[in-house]
Amino acid sequence: MSKLWAIVNKDIVTELRTKELLTSMLTFSLLVIVIFSFTFGLSAELMNLAAPAMLWIAFSFAGILGLSRSFALEKEGNAIMGLLVTPADRSLIYFAKLLSNTVFVFLVAVIMVPMFVLFFNLRFTPGLLQLVPVIFFGSLGFVSVGTLFSAMALNTRLRDVLLPILVFPIVIPLLVSAVKLSSSVFSGGSVLDETPSLKLLIAFDIIFIAACSVVFEYVIEES
């Protein structure tokens, strides 16, 4: 357990020193919002319908951006060797990376939601707090698949090009259910109105965290 925290701690400390990842992810999602507002015009009706989808598109693009750095950082100066020689199970490295990446993506998402509401003139209501668990489970599932693939894409010739095309088709169920839940929240409802989506979201997390942690050891080897 302490080994797990050591790796997570290392990632967070590194990030706090440079703040590279968080700033670039945040800036990027802001840019996505700006582009959307240009392309959609500012009709309020359209905004209400499109808001949840935009939110998750912004998150997933920003998430990909963050994930592609996750193992690239280790590669620099061959820090990955240090990780691999730690007397720990390979799946432990996976869980540690999963945690630190989830923290980053979740943070970006939590900062983005209020900005999103503000920029698109949606209403601040206590009901919006329900987005917190949705975003948490959404980030967790996204990162569970993304961590595995970012370790994989790093060693291939195509590298950063490969990561989005690996991750996006797999996370479609996750995005669908997250968008469904968010739109229920934005339209003033409760996440419990969409129990099938909620179940699907949580099932996605459980299935892929289990599956990815098992196959991770085949992906991360010294190169």
């Binding site: 698949v145 994989m152 599956a211 196959v215 992906v219």
Partner: protein, 219 residues
């Protein structure tokens, strides 16, 4: 042995063509266009088998690490994508006169589309690996993850659209026994074609490997 299989495949294919175009009665509602369905089902059936093989062979490859499992998964995925492409094309040709559109985002079609993309991604990943065994493992990992993803994709598309009834399917409702015979022969013919192509493709991989070794040995 291989020759026998080729002859059987040819005979079955000829039979299925005859049955689909002559033997099977014309469907009263859709007319002749419905005959494309025999090939539609035949190809999608084979694609399904192919993707199950990819999944199983990927697990075996990660477990045993032998080259033959990797080749089996790779070749099977290629054929799966090929046959699924045919499925989508025949389906589209059928849908134009019957549904008056080439494509609709109904759950089955959407799932098929995502399935198609997933295995194209698999092929990109696998072909970029070349002979590198470590990178071949990445493809195997993706082959497993993609297969696990499929039921979730299907569920999610149903959630998105609201659960819609199964729009078609020769299995649903009664169909003429001649139609059933035709369908079965078609599925058999495509299965046999698939096995034949797979064996040939595996041979090709083996030959390529041998060639590679000879090149190395020859310096």
């Amino acid at each position: 042995m291989r020759k026998m299989l080729a002859i059987i495949t040819f005979a079955l294919m000829a039979a299925s063509l005859y049955m689909a175009f002559v033997y099977a009665p014309t469907e009263p509602l859709m007319g002749h266009i419905q005959r494309i369905f025999y090939f539609h089902i035949g190809t999608v059936w084979v694609a399904t088998i192919a993707f199950i093989i990819v999944f199983a062979a990927s697990i075996m490859y990660l477990w045993k690490g032998t080259r033959k499992w990797d080749s089996l998964a790779y070749c099977s995925a290629e054929l799966g994508v090929l046959f699924l492409t045919l499925t989508i094309l025949t389906g589209s040709v059928w849908a134009k006169p019957v549904w008056n559109t080439w494509w609709t985002w109904d759950p089955q079609l959407t799932t098929t589309f995502i399935l198609w993309i997933l295995y194209i991604v698999y092929l990109i990943l696998r072909s970029s690996a070349g002979n590198d065994t470590k990178k071949a493992k990445y493809a195997a990992v993706f082959g497993i993850i993609a297969f696990i993803d499929l039921p979730l994709v299907y569920l999610s598309v149903r959630v998105m659209r609201g659960i819609s009834p199964v729009v078609f399917g020769p299995g649903g409702g009664g169909i003429a026994p001649e139609m059933m015979h035709t369908l079965l022969i078609n599925m058999l013919a495509f299965t046999s074609l698939f096995v034949l192509l797979l064996l040939e493709r595996l041979d090709l991989v083996r030959m390529k490997d041998t060639l590679e070794k000879l090149k190395l040995a020859g310096g």
